[in-house]
Symmetry: C2
Subunit: 348 residues, 2 copies
């Protein structure tokens, strides 16, 4: 076992003071004379002394580390959006001098996985945490919030009980949905369908309600059979579109997809059935996936600044760790519509 070369005892000896004086210098306490402070700092710099983290933590200080927990059913490497979120958090936390401990959770009912997350908190590896991909009311998260840890979650409801340490980041899906419906309405579409996302995710429910509201606002009728259940990935989009084609004789002229991956899958199903996008079917996605601009047809989508969202969330979590007491925060970022090739006006 490698021993740390130098400790505060050595520094104190070399500077000719006591160890507690060294501690006070490092932690910027008041009652230490300028001349003494200067001398101690000199020795610290000369020997590249860094306080031992484990000892600091043991003595009651924080770790300056936040945990990033990615809950993924499938392989995380495949999901480019997850990677982007992950990188955004790491980048922003690094800039604020925080480390990020990343952990992948395959299954929130798997004992080992749950244990791994809890250990991160109870062994005092992390001061706070951010969860990506968690369902609403996930017991693990509720427990950690109950324990008082600073927890940031993406895409969840903000419950009535407003604990000060629950930080929620969402997008304004309702507004995005009204942009999408409004645009299709402008193009003359009246028969509009939707493939929903997971209904145990906040954004799934929010987009669904937003769709109903937006249709009402624009005076359009919702045709139940065109509202299809789904999930936030490509294969779900493919299957939902196929079932729609099988079951329904009359089709909508436009469909809004839970996100761009779903749109890719649905478009594939449409094309296999001999339908052209956008000539026979207009399609709008969500999220502005990295592939969307280069897709054929280039996908019209409701864009969202994920980087900004994760930066803000990271900021709030770190802020809470550093003592900013407060009420629960719900961060919302504004969506905007990116017009590309996948939508056509009705009647050419």
């Amino acid at each position: 076992m490698k021993k740390t070369e130098i400790n505060s005892v050595e520094i104190a000896r070399l500077a000719g003071v006591s160890r507690s004086t060294v501690s006070r210098v490092i932690n910027n306490y008041a009652n230490v004379p300028p001349e003494t402070r200067r001398k101690v700092m000199e020795v610290i710099d000369a020997y590249n002394y860094v306080p031992n983290l484990s000892a600091q933590v043991l003595a009651g200080k924080g770790t300056r580390t936040i945990g990033l927990f990615v809950i993924e059913a499938g392989r995380v490497s495949g999901d480019m959006l997850t990677n982007l979120l992950l990188a955004s958090v790491v980048e922003h936390a690094s800039a604020r001098g925080y480390y990020v401990l990343t952990y992948i959770i395959r299954n929130t009912s798997d004992a080992d996985n749950v244990r791994g997350v809890k250990d991160a908190f109870y062994q005092r590896r992390v001061d706070g945490g951010i969860f990506i991909g968690a369902a609403n009311e996930e017991p693990l998260i509720e427990e950690l919030i109950g324990e008082g840890f600073a927890i940031g979650v993406v895409d969840q409801h903000l419950p009535d009980r407003n604990e000060g340490n629950r930080i929620v980041a969402n997008f304004d899906n309702a507004y995005g949905m009204s942009l999408a419906v409004g645009y299709l309405s402008e193009l003359g579409h009246r028969d509009i369908g939707i493939v929903n996302g997971d209904m145990n995710r906040y954004s799934g429910v929010d987009k669904y309600n937003g769709f109903l509201d937006a249709m009402r606002e624009h005076g359009l009728a919702v045709h139940e059979p065109w509202v299809r259940p789904g999930s936030f990935h490509e294969e779900a989009g493919y299957q939902s579109a196929r079932k729609l084609l099988e079951e329904e004789k009359r089709l909508p002229t436009a469909m809004i997809m839970a996100n761009d991956s779903v749109a890719f899958g649905a478009i594939r199903a449409f094309q296999e059935a001999g339908l052209s996008v956008p000539a026979d079917m207009s399609v709008i996605g969500f999220d502005d996936h990295a592939l969307s601009a280069r897709y054929k047809p280039a996908l019209t989508t409701v864009a969202i600044d994920f980087g900004e969202m994760m930066s803000s969330l990271t900021d709030y979590v770190i802020g809470h760790i550093e003592g900013a007491e407060g009420t629960a925060i719900r961060y919302m970022s504004r969506s905007k519509l990116i017009r590309r090739e996948s939508c056509r006006p009705i009647g050419q």
Copy 2:
């Protein structure tokens, strides 16, 4: 400050044994009677006791954490390949029960960034580390290897001095290059150019040498003006292609690009100049970027299994941490050619 609810003293009291017996049970030592062991385990399970990590580290045990350091000049979020590598390491380490501490380094000559990395090791946050994107002979890495830490690096030379704790992962770029040149040769191409990557990266040098060797093997002459300097990103590909078009009257019929991003940039430059790919110019990339299959034209590329590479590298680093002494390791993964649309036979 939240106090840990329960410690080994409590466990010992509840089990009616001494604290050292608890320690021996946890660490699976021999000299503890089965009945005592059972009773202690029962209490540990009943109270969900987890040893405090900081105390363990302070007492000389490891952290079961590896550091992942990503050296990036630009924004890391934009680089999908980096995200994939990062996710692969996290995923594989998690599976082995290790945590991953991720840190972004913008600039290896920036004092704060260097300090951040050193702190991770000297403060005993991590047991070992993996570096992505580091140049050859990076002093920071050489220092850490000199200190005896288990260090994995991607895309670097394996120097003559074979420290046991230096673990290097590379791809067989020379073989990949011979696949690319061989394929173009089969298609009838004799005038083949290349846009190189960074020459301070192992893969840059290796691809360049591999190209020269492969051309010689296939009896093809290297035309110096068609060997262009470059770097591993899209903009460099665009600029290199533009300069080639400006400076050279006679053009090659096919070009090999340092990677797929470079290829995207170069193809854009060719198309802007009125050249069609592949009709006027065949192009081969490297890495099978996520976009390559959907690009127009779909890009022919030398594929590489990055996930497998990072898994192996992570394995070796963890193995070394857990005591597997040994010589330096150089891991090599086999490349394979993926034929798509961006290459055409000569004379139709």
